[in-house]
Each structure stands twice: as structure tokens, then as C-alpha cells.
């Protein structure tokens, strides 16, 4: 349904100027603050050195920032047009890594591009959101509320989840699943259907348990009882809680985290960077990081709701939720609220692909905001 007064001139391509001033500078500023905090923490993780992480992370952020801007300047309709193509392209990459990926961390997740290692599962997080947004944009509410209308999007979800699961990367698979669930919820799938799936999931849990790898089982068991194996699987989470707790309200000071710098804290530059931050800057620093993330997500939802188009709304919601899942799972994990699943804290943890994928996501959200008055058809 087009509103008459908009169709006349708004259904046009925006000029460069309009695009530039359409970008939310406060949103970009929040992202930059987090990135700076990340670089500072990586400098500390290397015992006060730019090498080996802080400098490279800064470079990557520069690259990611460029990608974000490029994406932000793109027309939202392009995302709609190429959503399926992008999705199936990434799906093909996932199959490719399954066939002949590079071995990394005991699981096949990478494609070596020479200058960087590409992790298709990260790209899938964006691709899945775009594909689902395109699909739900195209069908009427009746179809959404019918079972038949859900078959295609379910297939869109299940294929990558299955491929990622067998990599095996349980964390990413669950993230994809949750993200898709959130989109299904947002578009109005009836709650009883979630109830049925949840019930089915609980019934299938023992069977799924059977298929889990031993280390995955250990992670879950360790989460349920960290003292089970304090020197083995439980070591990470126990040391993480000690580091956090001993940081107190004001922290031990920059470069003074004993747990981090004496190496009691594992993976302090990647998954457990939030722990190190909490140890050195205390509850104040930790709460600040949570607050900034809170604002980023809140802004994203505001952008989504401000968008005139269904596709734009859903895309922004999906990507915001994707980012939320990263932050929530990572922090809940290091706080001992979730099992250790290997999800980094985007913008702060060291790592290229996640940074790039998250920055692309931000770029799309920014584009949605810039193009908020542009109406988009059903396909």
C-alpha cells in the first residue's frame, strides 16, 4: 500500500549528500567507542604491547569501518534484490568448507582466501536475515499464519543450521536458530507454534545429546557444575569468575589484572576479553560496555521501527537481534550464566571475520535508517 504523498518523489534513489547526512552519527560514535575499548583491551592482553593483537585489530576495524560505510551508502533495494542470491552463495560456501575446509580449532570453519580466512557461517548470519526478510516481505499475513507458508523459511533456516552443526560449531548453529526464531516471532508466527517446537525440542533433547561431541557434552556438564573438573573443562569458567569477582567495583587498573596477566584467565584476547575488562576496570567499566551495547541495540530497534518498509524493518530487527545474541551469549557465558560455547564479543574480541560481519550488519542497519522513507514492493 503506497501512501499517495510519498510515491511522488520518495520512491527515488537518494543523492550522496542525502545519504551522508542520513547516517546516524551517534550510532557510528557508539560503535567507534566500543572498537577503541576493544583495541585498548587487546593492548593490555599483550601485557601492554601493540603486538600481536591491538595493532592488527585496529587495522581490521579500519577495514570494517570502510565496509560499513560502503554498505551504508547502498540502496536498501539492492539488499532485497540479491538476498536469495547472497543466501545461496553463502550456503554453497558452507558446503564447500564441509568438503574441503581448512582445519582450525578442531572444526572445519574456514576458507582460506590468502589474505584472510573466511568463515562462511559468519556471513550466513547476515544472509539468513536478508533471505528471511525478503521471503516474509513477499507473503501476506495469512501465509505467515499458515503452516504451509512456513515451510520455505524453515528450510532456509534448517539447511545452514545443519551444515554449521556438523562442522561442528554448536554456538553458531544455535545463534542462527535463535536469530531465525526471533524473526519468526517478529513477523507474527503464532506463539503456540513456538510452544510445539519447544516441546518437540525437549522431547528430542536426549536424542540430540546422543549426537553431541564429547567436548560439547563436557561444556554443558561443566556449565551445570563448574567444580566438576576444576583443572580441566571447568577451569575456564572458574578462573573467569575469579577474575571478574576480584575486579570489584573499580577494578585493578589498566594492565594490572592479575588473573589476566599471570595467564590464569584463558583466551583473554578472544572469548574472555570481557572478563579481563571487568577485572581491570571493575563493575563500572563492565557496566559501561553493557550500556553502550544496550544503546546500539536500542538505536537499531528505533531505526527498524522508523523504516517505512516491511523489508527494512525486518532486516534491521534481524541484524540487531544477531548482534544482541553475540553480546548476550558472550557476556552471559563469561559471567557463568551460559555454557562456554565460543562466541566472541564483537568489536572487542580479537578476530577478523566476526568484526567484518558485524560491521556489515551495522552498515545495513544504517542503510535501512537512511532509506527509511523509501518504500519497497513485495519483491
Amino acid at each position: 500500500m503506497y501512501k499517495a504523498y510519498e510515491t511522488g518523489f520518495r520512491n527515488q534513489t537518494l543523492s550522496f549528500r542525502e545519504k551522508f547526512w542520513g547516517i546516524s552519527f551517534s550510532y557510528v560514535l557508539l560503535i567507534m567507542i566500543l572498537a577503541v575499548i576493544g583495541v585498548v583491551m587487546l593492548y593490555s592482553a599483550a601485557n601492554g604491547s601493540w603486538q600481536p593483537w591491538a595493532w592488527r585489530q585496529l587495522m581490521r576495524f579500519g577495514l570494517g569501518f570502510g565496509v560499513m560505510l560502503v554498505v551504508a551508502f547502498m540502496d536498501v533495494r539492492i539488499f532485497l534484490r540479491y538476498a536469495y542470491l547472497f543466501y545461496f552463495g553463502v550456503l554453497a560456501l558452507l558446503i564447500l568448507v564441509e568438503i574441503g575446509g581448512h582445519i582450525g580449532m578442531g572444526a572445519q570453519r574456514w576458507i582460506n582466501l590468502g589474505f584472510m580466512k573466511l568463515q562462511p557461517s559468519e556471513l550466513m548470519k547476515i544472509a539468513l536475515v536478508l533471505a528471511l526478510a525478503r521471503y516474509f516481505n513477499s507473503i501476506p499475513l495469512q501465509s505467515i499464519e499458515s503452516i504451509k507458508g512456513l515451510l520455505f523459511p524453515l528450510a532456509l533456516v534448517i539447511m545452514p543450521v545443519f551444515l554449521v552443526m556438523i562442522q561442528p560449531d554448536l554456538g553458531t548453529a544455535l545463534m542462527l536458530l535463535f536469530n531465525a526464531g526471533a524473526i519468526f516471532f517478529a513477523v507474527g508466527v503464532q506463539l503456540w507454534k513456538f510452544g510445539v517446537v519447544l516441546l518437540g525440542g525437549i522431547v528430542c533433547l536426549p536424542i540430540a545429546w546422543h549426537f553431541l561431541h564429547t567436548y560439547q557434552k563436557n561444556r554443558v556438564l561443566t556449565f551445570l557444575d563448574p567444580e566438576r573438573d576444576p583443572l580441566g573443562a571447568g577451569y575456564h569458567i572458574i578462573q573467569s569468575k575469579i577474575a571478574l569477582g576480584s575486579g570489584g567495583v573499580f577494578g585493578k587498573g589498566f594492565l594490572n589484572g592479575t588473573q589476566s596477566h599471570l595467564n590464569f584467565l584463558p583466551e583473554k584476547h578472544t572469548d574472555f576479553i570481557f572478563t579481563m575488562l571487568s577485572e581491570e576496570f571493575g563493575m563500572i567499566g563492565a557496566a559501561l560496555v553493557i550500556l553502550i551495547n544496550f544503546l546500539i541495540i536500542a538505536y537499531s530497534f528505533v531505526f527498524a521501527l522508523r523504516s517505512a518498509s516491511y523489508f527494512g524493518k525486518l532486516t534491521a530487527i534481524g541484524l540487531a537481534t544477531n548482534y544482541f545474541l553475540y553480546v548476550m551469549i558472550n557476556i552471559a557465558m563469561v559471567l557463568g550464566l551460559l555454557p562456554v560455547v565460543g562466541i566472541p564479543l564483537p568489536l572487542i574480541s580479537y578476530g577478523g571475520t566476526v568484526l567484518l560481519s558485524v560491521m556489515t550488519g551495522f552498515g545495513i542497519i544504517l542503510a535501512v535508517n537512511t532509506n527509511r522513507n523509501i518504500n519497497i514492493g513485495k519483491d
Binding site: 499475513l141 570489584g248 595467564n263 590464569f264 544496550f294 541495540i297 530497534f301 516491511y310 559471567l335 557463568g336
Partner: protein, 607 residues
Amino acid sequence: MNRDNDKGKVLIIRSLILGGIELFLLFLLIFRLYYLQVYQADRYKTLADENRISTRLLVPPRGIIYDRHQNMLAGNRQNFQALMVAEQTTNIDDTLNAFKEIMPLDEEEEKRIRKDLKKNRSFVPVKIKDNLSWKEAAQILLNAPDLPGVIIDEGLSRYYPYGDIFAHVIGYVAAVAENDVKDDPLLEVPGFKIGKSGIEKLYEKELRGKAGNQKLEVNAVGRIMKEIEREDGVPGNNIELSLDVRLQKKAYELLGEESGAIVMMNVKTGEILAFASAPAFDPNSFTHGLSVEEWKELNSNEKNPLLNKAVSGLYSPGSTFKMVVGLAALESGLVDRQSRSFCAGKMVLGNHTFHCWKDIGHGYIDIVQALQHSCDIFFYETAQQLGINKIADMARRFGLGAKTGIGIENEKSGLIPDTEWKLKQFGEPWQQGESIISGIGQGYVLTTPLQLATMVSRIANGGYEVYPTFRKISDTKNFYPKSMGLSPQNIEMIRQGMYDVVNTPGGTALMARFNFNGQRMAGKTGTTQVRRISMKERQTGVLKQDELPWKYRNHALFVGFAPHDNPKYGVAVLVEHGGSGSSVSAPMGGKMLLEALKLDATDKPVD
């Protein structure tokens, strides 16, 4: 179209719910932060400190043991150790090979080193060789450029400069055993050594000192990052003993290859001046840990080097017991200076014949002569008439039959029998014949050389209850031992007899006599059988001692004191299977006392 409108509305409502949930969940994380970082902060701070702070005990230097003239008997020697730190080497094999060129390593050692290197993290120093001398350590340091990763560590190890001479007195230190009482955290320190015998054990607490503390910051793999705090310990107290190195050396020399013990005491104070048991062992080797062969050899030696014969060896006192019997008789009034007995060489009781050592007998004899000639018949008769209980009573007053309380481990109390004991032990009444043989210190009577030294000191000092001690008594002027309440005349008679033993022709120790500026010694010999002489052998002629195998020969004893007129030194000598007291032990006792007098004359003032 309306449905499309609804689709948009549903999306907005559901998005608001979804966004609300997400932001709420993020907000919840702050509560968790509060719980961990505020509510439980103290607990986690403690845990973090436990993680990073490693407390080590600093071992204090052990107290030094001196003799009465400040000669060091046990001290601490710098001990060098060569260690290798794998991460500091360029190549472990190169370093090991270079080390072997300076100092050979046998195959087993090399195997152990390689195993240790593999087992430990690369920054942990691994022992290559310990107990290096200063010279060896210097040689390694000189070659340091060829030995990357090799470091020299110095520590203290216990050292006994006189070796085996003081083995049984000073004892030794060794690693803490499973069953040692662990009342001090120091005992848990790897490689810590405690006194296992002798003075080292007796004064362990004084010698040990108090541990210091060192707090170190360590990282997750245990590498030391820095020292946080250091509190030095208190070194152990030095101890000054009553022993005299020169007399101890003399005693050990005199015993030579024999198996036996010599104990010399200051008769006025009970201070022990010499305390030797032979053969002995080298306590230094105990401190480093004995090899299996060394241990086997020590254990299988029939002369029993590990036994401290001065306190743990039990021997019939033989004729050295006659002073006690004589005094008991004098004090009870049974015998006086004029009393005489007739010795015909043997005496019959019932169907038993008791022989004097002299077949032809001594004729009429009084108590002083009986001691001088060591006449058995006189003491048989005296003991028979006196009864065992009075003898036992007097023996106990002289310190026999009970531990002296010297504090050295495994001290034996010996045995002074009486009628009650016999009844209790065997359920049989005491026999008169048993009193008779007790009269010459045979039968059930058992004593240690230390008890005999105490006994002769109490006779020599005129009947004062001195107790043997290893601690030097510096304030001798105010040292008044308790009087035993014996009649001075009676003691004088006994001492006269002992003087005659050595200095009057016919005495059994005449050969051992000396006259040093008018100072002479008094004493009493003893020879005790370790086998029974049968009737048949007595008829065919008793075998000579040197015809017998070593372990069947008689024990030779001597107790004595000097100077005779103003006694200062008392000595007890025991030579296991030595033959006879007159020919073996008395000369040793004489030489000991003469040495003491000579040193006394040339001595720098002691106090």
C-alpha cells in the same frame, strides 16, 4: 490490503516486544555483575590471591654444635648444586655434552636428568649434580660460556668435620620420614633434614630455628614473577657441649679396631667429656643418604657399628660391681675395715661349687684387699649374707638399673635384680646362689657403660648424686649435687681398694698405673664371661682366651678415676670380647685418665 496493514502492525508490536525482551536481558547482566563484583568480591579477591601468591618457607640455618672449647662438631657447609634450565639452553644435548666434558655423568644420572627435563616445564631448574665442592662449582662457572642454561645454586648442608669420631654422640640429620611428628611446617619443605639420632635429635627443636616466609607472585604455570614479601627466619641456636674433642679423639683412637665403648665424665658435675662407641660410621654419609651397599655393610658387621654401645649395649658389670656390694656391706654394718674372710679358691653351697678366679685362693683377706685382688670368694660370702635386696638398693643409688636420662635415643635401663623382680618375672623365689653370683656382678645384673661411668663418678666424688649430661655447665662454682648420704669413711675404704688395684703390687690393674706429677689413678677391672665354663672344661683346663673364637671371648671392663687424692675424672671402658679387664681395658682407662690430667695441666682455663 487490510491484511497488509495488519501484517505491518503485527511486525511493529512483535518488534517492540522482542526489543523489550532483548534490552531487559542485557539489563539483567548488570545484576549478575553486581552479584559477582560487589556481593562476592571479597571471596573472589581471596581466590585470585591464592592463585597468584605462592608462599615459600625459608629454611633457617641449623644451629652449630661446639665442644667445650668452641671446636665445631657439627656445622653447615656451603653446598653447591649444578642445575639446568631447559629454556635457557640453546640445545639440551649440546649443554649436557659440554657438561660431561667437565664432569663425568654416569648413564643412570643422565637418564634421570633427561626424564626430569621432560617432566618439568622448561623454566624449572632441574638438578644435574649436587654436593659439588667449591672447586667443582668454580670450574663449572669458569666454563659458563659453553654451558648455557647451567646455573649453580648454593645451599647449606650439614657437615660433621670429625666424621665417625663423634658419630654416636652427635648423631646425624636426614630427610624427614613418614612417621616423624610434623609439628612444624618446615618439615614439609622438600629436602629438609632433621636430627635423627644423638645430640642432633635430642636438641632438634633448639637447633632447628624458625622458618622464614617468602611470598612470591607466580603465574598460571608456576613461573615466579616477583617477590612480594620476605620475612627472614630465626637461625637455630648454637649449642655448646661438655665434650672435649681431644679426649673424644683419644677414646676413639684407643678403641681402635675393637668393639666397645669409653665414657669419661667430670666426677663433680656429671659433664661428659668423652663418649665413644666403636666401631662407628661416618654421619656425613647419612646426611647425603646412604647407598644400599653401605647400609648392608653397616648392618651385617658383627661388631655392630650402628649400635651405640655406651647407652644401648647391656653388659654384666662383673668385678666392677664389687664396689657397690662392698659399700652395701659396709653401710649395713655387716663388714668393717677389720672384717676378714678366708678364700680357699672355691666355696660350696649345696651341690654347687663357686670358684674364685684364682684357683689357689687368696687366704685371709679384708675388704680393701678383696677389691685390690678382686677376690671373688669375699664377695660371694658378703653377698650371701647381705642378701640381694640390700645390694640392689645400693646399686640403684649409684644409678644402675635405671636410665640415666641422658636423652640419647635407645638408652637401656639395664637390670638390677631383687627378690620381687624374680618373683614377678619368673614366678619363682630368689635363690641364694643367685645372690652369690650377683656379688661379683654376674647373673642377672646388666649395666650400660654410661651407668658404670656414673657409678664410678659417684664413688670418686665421695658420694654425690651427679647425673651425666652433654651440656656444658659453665657455673661449676654454684653446682652442688645432692649427697647420697653415705659414710665418708666407707667410701674412702672403697677408694683405697681401688687405689690399690692400680698402684699396689698384686692389684689387678698394676700394669696400667701412672704417676703424673704425683697424680695417680684408682680403678677396678672386670672380666665377664659370655659363655659358661663347664665342669669338664674346668677339669681339663680352661681354654685360653685367644684360643676361642672372637664372639666367645670375655668382655673386658674397667672403671676408674683420677687424680686418686682429688678425683676429677671418672672413666668407664668396655671392650666386647676383649679378653681381660686387666690387660685390655685398664690400660685404655689409664691412658684416658692420664690424657685428661695432662690436658688439665696444660689447659687454657676452661671457664
